[in-house]
């Protein structure tokens, strides 16, 4: 994801990576969104493509989304998970606003994960806001894919519906 900013420690490449699950039926429905002003979305597109190749239906909305636009897209598209790609360093400002907008629409049970240039020191704060996982530069795609699949499957089991 990061091709310019040498920041944050690369996520450890786990040797005992869990094997990916077969695609869910109906397919997992996921939103990949870029809040804020950073203007490059290579990473978001690569992740969206990997999720697609794992059998998910991935809504991609493009760059420069406001938290309200992201929450409204999540609502209209009835997604189960939202991935936020943030390279600008504004994650501690943007992520709480996305949660506010989601909650304002009654969307308080979505799986939200964050990817991009996120210093490891900020991860606990993001998790405290409700972020389920943080994937920094160097995270293998299969780690992200396995996480989303599992998290969506668990959410379905918890809610008793798709």
């Amino acid at each position: 994801m990061a091709d310019t900013v040498p920041s944050a420690e690369p996520a450890p490449v786990a040797a005992a990576e869990p094997a990916p699950l077969p695609p869910l039926q109906p397919p997992a429905r996921v939103l990949v969104a870029k809040p804020g002003l950073d203007g490059h979305d290579r990473g978001a597109k690569v992740v969206a493509r990997a999720l697609r190749d794992a059998g998910m239906e991935v809504v991609y909305t493009g760059i420069r989304q406001t938290p309200a636009m992201i929450a409204e897209a999540a609502l209209q598209e009835d997604v189960e998970a939202v991935g936020l790609s943030i390279l600008s360093g504004a994650h501690l400002t943007l992520v709480p606003r996305v949660f506010e907008e989601l909650r304002a629409r009654g969307l308080d049970d979505l799986v939200v994960w964050v990817g991009g240039i996120i210093p490891a020191d900020d991860e606990p704060a993001l998790r405290a806001m409700g972020v389920a996982a943080v994937f920094g530069p160097g995270t293998p795609l299969r780690t992200t894919v396995a996480f989303v699949q599992r998290a969506v499957a668990e959410r379905r089991a918890r809610l008793g519906r798709r």
Binding site: Q25, P27, R52, A54, E57, T61, E72, L75, E77, G106
Partner: protein, 322 residues
Amino acid sequence: MSTDALVAAALAGDRRALARLLSLLEGGGPAAAAALRALYPRGGRAHIVGLTGPAGSGKSTLIAALARQYRERGEPVGVLAIDPTSPYTGGALLGDRVRMQALAGDAGVFVRSMAVRHGHGGLALAADAACAALDAAGYTRILLETVGAGQDEVAVAGVAHTVVVVSAPGLGDEVQALKAGLLEIGDVLVVNKADRPDAEAAAAALHLLQALAPAPPWAPPIVKTCALRGEGIADLVEAIERHRAFLAASDAGGARARQRARAAALAAASAELDRRLHAAASAPCREALWEAVATRARTPLDAADALVRAVLASPPVEEPSA
């Protein structure tokens, strides 16, 4: 929430319930059938405009521009944008919202992306049901975008009242591709990206093709647009309105409603038969049949006959609950 409660909430203006209802309809099965039974009598007010044409012709951008015009007239707009499903993984990248950002923040617009899944002809199986839901929920103008369509992806004609076929100059020899099936279902023909130098030639080619056709009761107007700059959109809205008035004024309106009903029922019936055929083919007892065909002891046609007989003789198979 029960299906009845979900339908009631969606019809009362709860957008989240509408979103969940669309997922339910998309999932198919008995719950979707029950929901549609409740929705169908409540619809019939909306005008459904289908937009089809080659990938990259500008359908999504045109829909955003059209939706803005309808919003200026105070009409609630529902958008249903279909994108292709991977035949290998079942996954899909639904990217039409990227071109529709200008619609964000308007509570009078509801945009839904839908993967084509097992649908044929450039439409998802649930497209008709999803339009019925948007219709019943009060979206009086529905813009339905097909997947980037080639020559015979004409299913949209069975769902939409007015079909807009969108082409663009510079997509190679795509007027040739339009000749076969797409052009025939177009009620309005659009040459988008009209700021390109070869747009005039593309429009001229369409005029020429049309001149060769026998005079129909409705001659599809050819409209030049530049969706990105918002040029020609008012002309397109007007052409669509003229077609709507034509449908209302002529017998073609009633005939076409029955045609659409037939197409919707046939599409649903073939999808159901397809599902049962696949279930029958997956039964372990058919292995001997495949072996017989593989060793050329029987022909694929004989095996097909056996499958069809098995499906017709058996009661409906319940879908596995997901």
